[in-house]
Amino acid sequence: MKLGEIKGWRRENGDFGIRNHIVVLSSVACANHAALEIARRTGAIPIIQEEGACGMFGEDRKRFLRCMANVGSHPNVAWTLVVGLGCEGIDAHQLADEISKRGRNAESLLIQELGMDKTVERGVELVNRAKENLTPRRETAGVEELVIGLKCGASDYTSGLISNPSVGKAVDILIEHGGTAIITERLELVGAEQILARRAKSKEVAEDFLRRIKKAVEDVNKRGVDWIGSQPSMGNIKGGLTTIEEKSLGAVKKAGNAQLEGCLDYGEKPKGRGLYFMDGPGYDVKAVSGLMCAGSHIILFTTGLGTYLGSPVSPVIKITGNPTTARKLRDAIDVDLSVLFEEIISKDASLDEILEIGGKMILEEIVRVANGKLTKAEKSQHIEFSIELTGIIA
């Protein structure tokens, strides 16, 4: 299939973006107020923290810095203002430096240096100046520039039957054209891990992947907790799913049949093209935020029962195969594959042929969204954001 061209923005560091967002990034919850106020007065996108740069040790400190620097240097971001309080472990100036090291422009303000009112005033001035410098959408690129994040949430039987395998068809074509996709949700690959491991580029990649999944299983089991009710969730069970294996075997279909190129830590950007696994959680907000930090231009989000979640800078395309969800949650769903569900019921067409139609519908939507069409979550300004941290908060 022929895929259309994309018009967007070529960044100073060579990246290609499909949005041109100005972001006000709070670096710690203590600075959220200032970031929200600057955003409110200017129309910039606020990214606020649940926890943020304070009281983190070791791995979490590294992870936070990586995620925030990747947000500030995200290809869909034109310019970033980092706002911090001043006494936190990783200050806003340091974060802005990290963004600059990635070849992108950022400025920073500390509330303890200026006071709240002046921070907001100065922030508004800086954002307005950045807005004046924005350029129109004009550079042309192909789909090989795109990094597509993959996520499923509120899954039911239609996820593994229709929407996930349709995404898999789209991902296969995208990767054949040189594009990149990232699957995540470590616990939702439990029971399906061999399918991806068999497709790993090398023995090392397979081992790295299996080690990460094994650790995820051990982390659950050493707490002596029950999988049922959490993985799968009660909603999943009501929707016809029974075990984590069944859920995972449906979820892994999002990754199509491509070779697994490598594993990424949470929020880490892929080093090459093709299919990657990001070691992240299943919880929607933290999974989508991690995929955004990893540089996803667009996130494909399949859903059975439906959700409205968005992301500050990566457009989220909602896909469902469930006719009831497509009807009830019309204001959430971008690609309605429930027509395919009706096809399966009414005809004896082969499932594979039907899923190819689904893949094509998704690819066409990717190209439209990459060219500026707003997703439902963008239209309703959904900007949920939360980073997965692992350890001690002081």
């Binding site: 439990v190 029971g191 659950v220 999988w227 016809g240 029974t242 984590i244 294996e245």
Partner: protein, 89 residues
């Protein structure tokens, strides 16, 4: 189609419309009578499965039968458990 079998190795099928107890379905030329109502999106056995056998969907193991299951019986969390659930105990 009223139900789908994802892979020819599977021993369960997924109802894509609600199916009624007593309804007849044909699987691989063989007639199966449904022994229970099957909610939309849920599964039924397409052959007899013994307690301890693997339940197969997508051609892969989705869990272990916790009791004998007859062809046409509803397969859900009451007679199927995850292999990981077992590993925990």
């Amino acid at each position: 189609m009223k139900f789908v079998i994802m892979n020819r190795k599977d021993n369960v099928a997924t109802a894509i419309v609600p199916l009624k107890k007593g309804e007849k379905v044909v699987v691989g030329g063989r007639e199966i009578i449904l022994l229970e109502d099957i909610p939309q999106g849920h599964k039924f056995a397409i052959r007899d499965i013994n307690a301890g056998d693997f339940i197969i969907k997508y051609g892969e193991i989705i869990g272990i039968a916790t009791r004998n299951i007859k062809a046409g019986e509803y397969v859900h969390i009451h007679n199927l458990r995850s292999r990981y659930q077992g590993a925990m105990k």
